[in-house]
């Protein structure tokens, strides 16, 4: 037996079938716990009052990360003799090997840890990352999953955190600001329209009356741009809220004889953005 073989024997324990069973038990336990956290907590959160839901969901990625750390912490002493020297040698070697082999994966894992620490996104948040906008459903080790308003699931690697802006509309809160845009021909009674839009906002059944409601208008070269800024009672109802505002606003416009501007379908004119954009709250 040469020197290096002797050192390795000193570092690694003799693995018998009992050790294998212990490792399997730890892995199985961690896997089961992760399943419970991943499936159980959302189940509980869906049965809680809405305010409680937002308190439960952010704990899912944190708990999963802690389970992973605990599992590693339990397995390592089974495999190696847990002296400081051995730990440094093993983690150094493994880190080097894994770092080369799974560089991108590790980058995502570290990005996920950074997201947990910085609270860049948590389950229940409405975020925009690149072109994707939706509700964060889960935050895994490698990626997060968003559910878009069209019910598509988008998986985004955590590594995007390093080079992309993350726009979080509610940041752990229950509600978020919605902005409904309206574009009217400039020839109208602006005071009547503004009062009407204020009534539109406060009469919507989805509006959160505890939050401020603001009507902003500005004259543009193509007409008058109105923005109704208000909060729905829950971020999940943002699209129903904006739709309801739009339906009610159209009734008001008809009553006060204010006509919306329309963009030509073809030609060089740039059409204004569609009604109902979302802002950050």
């Amino acid at each position: 037996m040469n020197d290096s073989e002797v050192k390795l024997v000193h570092i690694v324990r003799h693995l018998d079938w009992m050790s294998a069973v212990e490792i399997a038990a730890v892995v199985a336990g961690a896997w089961l716990l992760t399943l419970v956290v991943r499936a159980g907590l959302p189940w509980v959160a869906d049965r809680l009052r809405p305010s409680g839901r937002m308190k439960i969901l952010p704990w899912i990625p944190v708990l999963r990360f802690l389970i992973l750390l605990a599992a590693i912490g339990a397995i390592v002493p089974i495999v190696i003799r847990p002296t400081l020297q051995n730990m440094v040698v093993i983690f150094g070697a493994v880190g080097l090997a894994v770092g080369f082999a799974f560089k991108d994966y590790l980058s995502n894992v570290i990005g996920g840890v950074a997201a947990i620490i910085e609270r860049a996104y948590r389950p229940g948040d409405w975020v925009r990352i690149g072109d994707a906008y939706g509700e964060v459903r889960s935050v895994g080790l490698r990626s997060l999953s968003l559910v878009t308003p069209d019910d598509s699931v988008v998986f985004i690697p955590h590594a995007r955190l390093w080079d992309t802006n993350v726009s979080n509309a509610n940041a752990g809160k229950r509600d978020l600001m919605c902005v409904a845009d309206f574009f009217l021909h400039p020839d109208h009674d602006a005071a009547a329209v503004r009062q009407g839009l204020a009534d539109v906002a406060v009469s919507s059944p989805y509006v959160n009356l505890d939050r401020s409601i603001t009507i902003v208008l500005a004259d543009e070269p193509w007409g008058t741009h109105y923005r109704v800024k208000a909060y729905p009672i829950d971020s999940r109802y943002q699209f129903e809220f904006i739709s309801d505002l739009t339906v009610r606003a159209k009734m008001v416009f008809a009553r006060v004889a204010a006509s919306p501007v329309t963009a030509p379908v073809s030609g060089g004119c740039q059409p204004p953005p569609a009604n109902g954009s979302l802002g950050t709250g």
Binding site: L48, R49, P50, Q195, G196, S203, P205, D234, R255
Partner: protein, 414 residues
């Protein structure tokens, strides 16, 4: 009839009294109820209650007939609170121009406020404004506004402000015009409004601005509630209300009805039923009364004894059993009640009831789903149609309010 006059009793605080809205004090819920409600309240849906033991066998108890119920817990006479109203608002007719010219009375649903104001106005022969139809509100009918305007005359009474508006852009514009006219007129005005409407309108259009401090009927605490229930007993001779599981006395009505003083000692052992009822019903008279009627049970043969004449020997047998609080079936929202159901309930409460057509107008976002939601809620006893309007039932109100509050929708302050 052994019904005492609430006004003649000088030794006890009056049953009905009005207070500024800010001084309204809901009776506290017993700690056990609050803890139980807090824990189970975290979760949605119905929950089962554990039945307690029973002193009187279940099979011996019967739901009383309507006649007997009317004898034991007759319909509230909403003229009773009039003295309290008169004492607080006596100067309304002589109010000169100023903020006190428009007086507001706010009442929780089923508190009897609307009825009392209307009866008082009729007594005084003051004109009570008939609310406009939803169609006239949406059309912003100037003729209705012109008809009620007038600078001279006795105080104008709007007994149901909630029926003079719609939570709709045109409905709010209409109400704004109405309020502008009332504020501009030197004529005194008395406005009674539902506490939900008040909360909504103060949050959205500053309803209280330029008006006198609103007043409301004070909530019933356990003692006043017990006295009131005692007064509602309409049969001759003493009636004992005892809890069916342990025999504890629920009201001290026997002492009021002239029972043997020795009974007073026994009556000291009161059940916590009325305290829990007061807390659960938030001290709202009509709600508490509805649950009280629901909880009464008569033993076999008791109905006959009560209906018969004044046989003193039978007095001891005049016992009405009260279902223990833990066995009262409180109405709950359907397990599948979603946001649509809560929006319907919210709209009904803010408007003090709505016709189906008006509900669809107010909740345009629900579209054709609204009738199905109404049917589902009606099947669970949460809403009912009354005189063409859908409204939240008194027994369904606590569950509806709790669900609305837990969803984060605006609630009333009472």
């Amino acid at each position: 009839m052994n019904r005492p006059d609430s006004r003649s009793d000088t030794t006890e605080a009056p049953l009905w009294h009005m207070v500024p809205l800010a001084d309204y004090q809901r009776p506290a819920r017993p700690a056990a109820d609050a803890v139980r409600s807090g824990f189970f309240g975290l979760f949605r849906g119905e929950r089962q209650r554990t039945p307690a033991g029973q002193l009187v066998a279940e099979e011996e108890l019967r739901q009383p007939s309507v006649d007997l119920l009317n004898m034991l817990a007759g319909w509230p006479d909403w003229r009773d609170p009039i003295p309290a109203l008169e004492q607080t608002l006596s100067d309304i007719a002589s109010s000169d121009a100023g903020p006190h010219r428009i007086r507001t009375v706010v009442g929780a649903p089923y508190s009897g406020t609307r009825e009392t104001v209307r009866l008082w106005a009729e007594q005084r022969q003051w004109p009570v404004v008939a609310p406009p139809t939803p169609e006239r509100i949406l059309a912003q009918d100037e003729s209705w506004l012109d008809a009620i305007a007038g600078d001279d005359g006795p105080p104008l009474v709007i007994a149901e402000l909630e029926h003079c508006m719609l939570r709709h852009p045109f409905g709010l514009a209409f109400l704004r015009r109405l309020l502008d006219r009332l504020r501009a007129s030197p004529r005194p005005c008395l406005i009674a409004t539902n506490s939900w409407t008040w909360a909504y309108l103060t949050a959205t259009m500053g309803l209280g601005d330029g008006m006198a401090t609103p007043v409301t009927l004070q909530a019933f605490d356990a003692d006043r509630l017990a006295r009131w229930f005692g007064q509602l007993v309409g049969c001759d001779g003493p009636v004992l209300f005892r809890q069916a599981n342990d025999g504890a006395h629920v009201l001290s009505s026997a002492s009021k009805a002239g029972a043997d003083p020795a009974d007073t000692q026994r009556l000291d052992k009161r059940s916590s039923f009325v305290a829990r009822l007061a807390g659960y019903s938030r001290g709202i008279a009509g709600l508490a009364w509805g649950i009280w009627r629901q909880s009464l049970e008569a033993a076999l043969g008791e109905e006959v004894a009560l209906g018969q004449a004044e046989d003193e020997a039978a007095a001891e047998q005049r016992v009405i059993w009260v279902r223990p609080w833990s066995q009262i079936h409180h109405r709950a929202l359907p397990a599948d009640a979603d946001l649509d159901a809560l929006l319907v309930l919210h709209a009904l409460l803010i408007h003090g009831g709505l016709a189906a057509g008006a509900l669809t107008t107010v909740l345009a976002a629900l579209g054709a789903r609204a009738p199905a939601v109404l049917r589902s809620l009606a099947a669970h006893g949460i809403v009912e149609e009354h005189q063409g309007r859908w409204q939240v039932t008194p027994l369904g109100y606590p569950a509806a309010r709790e669900a609305i509050e837990s969803e984060g929708l605006m609630v009333d302050g009472l």
